[in-house]
Symmetry: D3
Subunit: 258 residues, 6 copies
């Protein structure tokens, strides 16, 4: 079986979760998959605010483009806001790019009629709700349920987090009629199995969903040639302009664009 090289990007300016996520993915990957996990050289510690997302735009996209150049087959943008997924697919011509919300929602829509998304804070809901609608799943959304915890808190006290996820997840099922749960943050990794066992519904993990999706889409690209259409909204910027305007110098990403 052909090797699949996949890069999982924690789009934050610290390496706290990189090793854990790498171990996590390694446990779930296909045999032929090689997985690397990186974070950004600088940047905010989480992306709860949209400003923080905006700050990482350049480095995230250049990390992705560089991965394509280095021969990766797939890249995963590890944040449930799916930041710059559209832009990443625009600049890549060969490499698959996935992100948690899109990948999780496509699965949830298969596994049940309705789903709820477990978020950390109410602040996150409007932007995520927009994505749910843009991806086409507005009518299948049962609810958002907030834990009132920040991204950095989820692994401080894991049994507290787990209990809260179970409590709110159960309410989502009984009160909101959710048939499937989605963990609305990549840093909620590690909890889905227990939740699934206790609650008896599929619980989609936001790290594994886009990772397995990437493996799948890499196989489709390899075997069938299916990849982002370059006719229309995802047309790649012309190298000529990038060179002419010296964009690669201005944004210190030499050699990426060849």
């Amino acid at each position: 079986m052909k090797k699949k090289k996949i890069l999982f990007i924690n789009p934050v300016g610290h390496e706290t979760w990189d090793a854990d996520v790498k171990n996590y993915l390694t446990a779930y990957k296909e045999d032929a998959t090689e997985v690397d996990v990186v974070s950004l050289k600088k940047g905010p510690h989480h992306l709860e605010y949209h400003y923080y997302e905006a700050l990482i735009a350049g480095e995230l996209l250049h990390t992705i483009k560089e991965a394509e150049k280095k021969g990766y087959d797939g890249a995963v943008i590890g944040c449930f806001y799916d930041p710059f997924l559209r832009e990443a697919r625009e600049i890549c011509t060969r490499m698959v790019v996935t992100a948690p919300a899109e990948s999780s929602l496509q699965l949830a829509a298969l596994y049940g009629d309705t789903f709820s998304i477990m978020v950390g804070r109410k602040k996150w809901i409007p932007a995520m709700h927009r994505n749910v609608r843009l991806y086409g799943y507005g009518e299948k959304l049962a609810s958002f349920r907030s834990l009132d915890m920040g991204v950095l808190d989820f692994h401080q006290n894991e049994s507290y987090t787990e209990n809260l996820l179970i409590t709110e997840g159960r309410k989502a099922i009984t009160e909101d009629r959710a048939e499937v749960l989605i963990l609305g943050c990549t840093v909620q990794f590690g909890f889905y199995r227990e939740l699934q066992k206790v609650l008896g519904v599929p619980v989609i993990d936001a790290v594994l969903a886009p990772f397995k999706h990437a493996e799948y889409l890499v196989a489709l690209r390899e075997g069938l040639g299916w990849i982002t259409s370059k006719v229309g909204g995802f047309e790649t910027p012309p190298l000529r302009e990038i060179k002419e305007w010296k964009l690669e110098d201005q944004y210190r990403v030499p050699d990426l664009w060849e």
Copy 2:
């Protein structure tokens, strides 16, 4: 790698396409996949009419349930109307079931902003349009384009069909602003590669899309335990009732329901 057994069902009462589809799938399957292709013992020769679809309900579902019992990991319902997909997922508790429209639309929504569906006859459009909306992709649909050919005609004169697909596909791209094409009938198998090459956009094949999707979903079930939620709309009928009412005798499907 764990073996995946997948059954592709041509839900019609003749075996015309079984061998070809088997060869086709074999060329695209994962190494560890075993694929079988069957058609129904009786039934219409195509499903262009909704009455024809209705006729096959029992045999299709029992073929699926029997496959689950026999140890298949996945089944594909080989008709772009996705007939009885919901029911199949309701009765299965372990086996993955996929169907062409759902699988193709999820991919098309990833590969572009908009897509067009190439159908045989205008007659098919309203029911397929309903599915596009139900799956959540109504806003991404650029158009349906009809070839004015029946299901049984597509392989009569393949170069004629191919030319027509190219002509109508090109119109979909230039006039309707489609970024991706979907072949809206499983019997259009075999044409996607050439179309993709000529037209320069992803062309989703309605046989391969649900088949590769099934492989993917089987892996998710095996590795992560994700499968149709049984809380809510997909709750499985109770064996007790089926036995008590002797449904398995009435519909001559003994031994399936254990």
Copy 3:
């Protein structure tokens, strides 16, 4: 006044409700209407599961087609999932066919801005919600309210059922702002009058709504020639194919298709 012959079909494999429904309809029919009530020769005792619906496909449709051949003017499919309504209209060229959800929703949309649907189990809700949306009434739906009772329970203890309907109906009005109630199961027949009196809002009965609708549509067909369009999605399968493929033999319904 011209006679109208209408067949009400209880699409289940037992006759339990046939006589009661016949008496019920007789009390509400137009003078010129002749009403018959039949159930199926075999089949499940209720249709709460979609698999059960699927099982009856052939016999239901052949009962309908046979009724058309025998000279019935209208047929009613007596289940709130509206099973195979689309298919029934496809195969009929002269006879009117109605079903509870469509007929009830059209009335509820006239009588108020919003409505709630009283169901037996939560299991039913997703499939019924899909129909509400497909018929165009998604924005008028105030809520589903579940009694947590099965179809076979409604008439076990009628005063219990009635009280529960009143309790949940009142919540629908005060908490969900429903202006109209719909009884979301044909086997809830017999309760609407009392509910209407107690709750002070229109309560649509799922047996009477499609029956009176059928009388109305028969009158329109007779007087104005209005009937299902045969151009497009409801085009009838060609007799030639049915004969050629011996479908009528395979499904043991000889002589229907002439």
Copy 4:
């Protein structure tokens, strides 16, 4: 059979069409129906402009309320904009009120997957499109087709009008994939039969649809007690206020409100 008294209102300030419409309705009415046709004492000659509609508000509603007082069972507002239908249902407590767009759209949604509406001028389209959406049928609308004729022109040269309706209707069917046509103006009465014959699809007449609908709804009110909900948006204004404010004097409609 109980008598049904129905008043058809041509909501314009001239009697030009009253006799013709009365004859027309008489040919299509149930035996037990008594039909009267009236127009307004003053007012514009047509309602193509929304200002003209607004002008007739008071007289139209008082004509309707007076009809209820006089014992009519139903009233039809004879304009495809459905002017003041909501208000009419608010003030009536016993009498049924119908209007062309609502009644026609409910039928079109039954008879096909899609429909087109034949209008006189493009000017009419936005307001009618709004109604199509409000009634829930936005997704079933294939197109509006305009004849570029005013309301007052339709019967000037009937064969010209008929030919134009046939030409545009045929385009709606072949180019826009309409399965049903709706005549989007009451003054297009008289053409539907021939169109139906020539074009082979149901053609809904905007005079007959609300009239037959009224007969149907009167039967439901009589037999089942179904009528506009008075809990919520259609709650009737309190007589106390009307009296206290002397509204009935201000608007010269003494004695209506008892």
Copy 5:
């Protein structure tokens, strides 16, 4: 700066609020604005019922047309149902017309992701909900919250009203996740500042929003020539017809239409 003459219309048959509203607007107007406040010569005391709205159609529109003739630059229809806004824009060719719901919703959509509307009675909700959808903001609506008070009660005991607005507003924010509040009645004027201070979210006042909007739109018309399109749905009725039919005599509004 060019003078802007704006007329605020309290579309009811009494002058109770005119002086207060004039003072209110005067405190918020631009320096160059001249504001007048009028009510109607006759009419209901409030517009909670749609029949009451309908009654004022003629006088409201003629007041507006007369204002245009007298040289006003803008008119505000002072009722949150936005009665006859469409008609007013149809008959005006130069003067700007605004109304509370449209103006408030456009602001709320800018200031937050979601909003709640504080209404007096549940009765109002369905018609206002229709407007929210028609203006395009259905997906941003968090909730309607009802005070169970009539229009005439809001200023009877202002501290009671204020407390209730605070209580219900807080629930809208915490339970319904509203980010912005809209006061859904012009007669709730005067409360927004305190609510804003106490609740910490923008609170849109239904008198000020359309008034300031009118000032803005007048500036756009003056400076850029932007005003209602007269091609399509807002085409003005032809003077020729109005004269020929003597509409201006019938509705006693001589000399308006020149």
Copy 6:
């Protein structure tokens, strides 16, 4: 009248349009407005590709935040994709921020029932269509019309551009039934007046619309205290985090965050 300081940002890495835009705005500004126009220190020459948009994220947002600190009352993001409008409103607590698409669409929705957007290339359409839907105006969109010109071409040969805008604008009106036109690129500035005169419909200029909107919203903030809600999706990132993580150093924007 209180002074309003407004900054118009051409979010590209060259000053080509700054002086022209400044003159343009100066001709249309209120007396009390002071307007500045800036572009970015580095960056692409246009933003037709989403990658180019992403590159400017940091500098655009810091330019905006710096403007707020310097005492500007409003900032305009001068690109019809409305890049980072949401983020800008999140980080600002006092200053108004507007952008072309949102401001233009709100006006177009007032001036007509439907509008068309004139774009440079088909590439732009999907992302702009997404915004049209997110802002709530999907149902009012008549069409996108593409000139097949790049941003840098519009002012190369102005009479060519003008003629093309007139030709395509006329088609939008007659074929797509647009009642209003929107110029879907800020660099189409300067053409609207002539188009308006020739075509007879409002033509919204994408530079002027957000600029005048900013003036309006500044007045509302000053006079009424209305500004972006900070409860929910637009909650501002906490200064504490920004300081603690030294984000302002990492992204070289010292002193902004106090």
